[in-house]
C-alpha cells in the first residue's frame, strides 16, 4: 500500500476508513481483509460494514462503544493488516446475457462512440472478467469494472424512469446489472436472466464486493428459456 489509511468521522456511530486514493481492483483484497478483522474485533458492537471502492464504512453501536473506542479498535485492526490471498478471492459468476438493441438500446450509441460495430462492443464487454467494487443504489446493485476503455460512455442526459430488472448497463468505465426495476441513467446493452437479488435466497444478493463477474452472450432462445424477460424497452420519456 502506497497510501496511509485515514480514519474520518462519519457521525456518532460510524467511521470511514479511507484506505486508498484511487480505484483499483487490488483494493478489494485489502478492504475485505479489514472487514473481516473488524467483525472479529467489534463482535456484538458491530452494526454494519459497507465496503466501497476505496473505503470501508464501519458502523458500530454507540451504546457499547464510544467513537474514540471504536477508532482505537479500527487502528488496531489496521496494524499489520495483510490483503486476503488470491485464493480467497470472491466467486466467479457467469451472467447469461442477451445483447440486443430491443433490450439494450444504447448498444448503438456505445458503438458509435467507440467507432466499433455493435458485435465488437458485445465482444469487448463480454470478454473481460469484472470485479465487484461496491454494492449500492438499490439492493443487490453491483458496481463492476473496469470495462474496456474504448467503450467508456457518459450516463444518459435524461435518466429513464424505469429500467427493467436484469438490464445490463454501462456508465463511464463501470458496468452493472439492475436487480429490480428502478429509474436509471446508465447505457443499456442487453439483459441478463440471472436473478440478482432474491429475498428467499440465502445471502439475498447474488453478487458481493470482491466477486468476479463475466457476462456470457446468449441467444434470445436461451435467454427466454432461462426465464429472461424479452419485453422491449419503452422509449425514454
Amino acid at each position: 500500500m502506497s497510501w496511509k489509511p485515514v480514519l474520518e468521522s462519519a457521525g456518532l456511530d460510524a467511521w470511514i476508513v479511507r484506505m486508498f486514493a484511487s480505484i483499483d481492483e487490488r483494493n478489494v483484497s485489502w478492504l475485505s481483509a479489514l472487514a473481516r478483522r473488524c467483525e472479529e474485533a467489534f463482535g456484538d458492537a458491530l452494526v454494519d460494514l459497507v465496503p466501497s471502492y476505496t473505503t470501508l464504512l464501519v458502523v458500530f453501536d454507540p451504546l457499547n462503544v464510544s467513537p474514540s473506542q471504536a477508532r482505537a479498535i479500527i487502528c488496531e485492526t489496521l496494524a499489520g493488516l495483510e490483503p486476503e490471498e488470491t485464493a480467497h478471492e470472491g466467486e466467479v459468476h457467469e451472467l447469461p446475457t442477451w445483447y440486443d438493441i430491443s433490450v439494450g438500446p444504447e448498444l448503438q450509441r456505445v458503438a458509435e462512440g467507440a467507432g466499433m460495430a455493435v458485435s465488437e462492443v458485445v465482444e469487448a464487454h463480454s470478454q473481460r472478467t469484472y470485479k465487484v467494487f461496491a454494492l449500492g443504489f438499490a439492493p443487490g446493485f453491483a458496481f463492476m469494472g473496469l470495462v474496456d476503455p474504448r467503450l467508456e460512455c457518459a450516463r444518459l442526459d435524461t435518466p429513464r424512469k424505469r429500467v427493467p430488472a436484469g438490464s445490463v448497463a454501462l456508465a463511464g468505465l463501470q458496468t452493472a446489472a439492475y436487480p429490480t426495476e428502478t429509474p436509471g441513467g446508465w447505457n443499456l446493452l442487453g439483459r441478463t436472466s440471472a436473478r440478482l437479488f432474491d429475498r428467499e435466497r440465502e445471502g439475498f444478493s447474488l453478487l458481493r464486493v470482491g466477486d468476479r463477474v463475466r457476462f456470457v452472450p446468449v441467444s434470445r432462445e436461451v435467454f427466454e428459456r432461462e426465464g429472461g424477460n424479452t419485453t422491449p424497452l419503452e422509449p425514454i420519456t
Partner: protein, 322 residues
Amino acid sequence: MTQHNSPEADIRVLRAGPLALLQDSGRFGVRHLGVTQGGPADIYSWAWANHLTGNPWGTANLEVTFGGLKLIAVRDLEIAITGADLGATIEHKPVALWQRTRWKAGDTLTFAAPVSGLRAYLAVCGGFAAEPVLGSVACVTREELGGFEGNGAKLATGDELSVNRSGSGQQLANAPTEAPKNVLPDFSQPAVLDLLPGAQIASFTGRSLFDAFNTWWQVDDRADRMGVRLIGPRLNCKINTLISEGISLGSIQVPPDGQPIVLLNDRQTIGGYPRLGTLSPLSASRLAQCLPREPVRLIARGSDAVLKEHRRFRAVFHSESV
C-alpha cells in the same frame, strides 16, 4: 388487501392517507448488499410510543406522515400516539398525545393534518404483527421490502392489521402511562441540529463554513425518508465529487449546486458528494419532524457531549433491550 399471516384482523384501515408505514428499529447487517436501514425517521418519538405501551425496544409501530389516516378498532386496544400533533381524534374527541389511551372496539381513530411536526407514531400494546424480511419489518417502499405484506407497500385503504397478543397485562403493569413533561419535544420551536463535523469540512471555503453555521436554513419541499434538502446560501466546496463511499444516517452532503441534503433512513447506502458532517441521531429525528419551509439551524458539536445525550435517551429504554 388483507394481512395473510394472521387471519384475525384487529384494526381495519378505512382511509390510508398519504403515507403510513410499519417501522421497527430498522434493517441492519445487510447494508453491504445495498440494502438501506429504514426504521423510524424520528426514533425518539417512535421509542416513546413503544415505551408507553410496554413494548420492548424494536417493536414495530406505525409511522403516520402528514395525517389523513382513518382506522377502526376491531377489539379493545391499548395504544399510545407520540411524535407530531396530527390532530388525532377517537370518535371526534382529541387523543392526548405522549400517553396511553384505551381505543375501544368499533371506535374510529383519525389523523387529520399537521398541527406541529410531520410524523406521528402509533404504538399498540403487543406490537403490530408482520413477517420480517431480511431480518426486519421496517417498510422501505423504494426497496419493496418490509411492511405488513413484506413487499414495502405503504398502508392501503381496506388493509387489515393484526396485533400480537403476547403478555399484554404484565407488559402494561411495568410501563409508564404518560411521558414526563421534560421529555416532550416542542416541534413548534425552530429546530437546532447538532452536527458532528466530517473530514471534508476543511474543503469548504471560509465563507461557506460561516454561512453553514450562521444561517436559518429552510426545509425544502423535496424532503422524504431518503433525505431532506435545505435551502439557503450556496455552500462551495473545493471537492466536487468523491469516489462513492458508505454514508451514515444524518450525513449532510453538498452536491455541486451548493444546497445541502441531509440523508435519512431510506437513503442510498453509498454516495459520492462531499460532506459537511453528520447530524446526531436525535437531530436527524428532529429534522424528520420539520415541514417544508420551516427554519433549521446547524451547530457544530463534539462527539463526547452528543454521545452523553444519546446514551441518556437510550437509558430510558435500557431495561427493555432484548
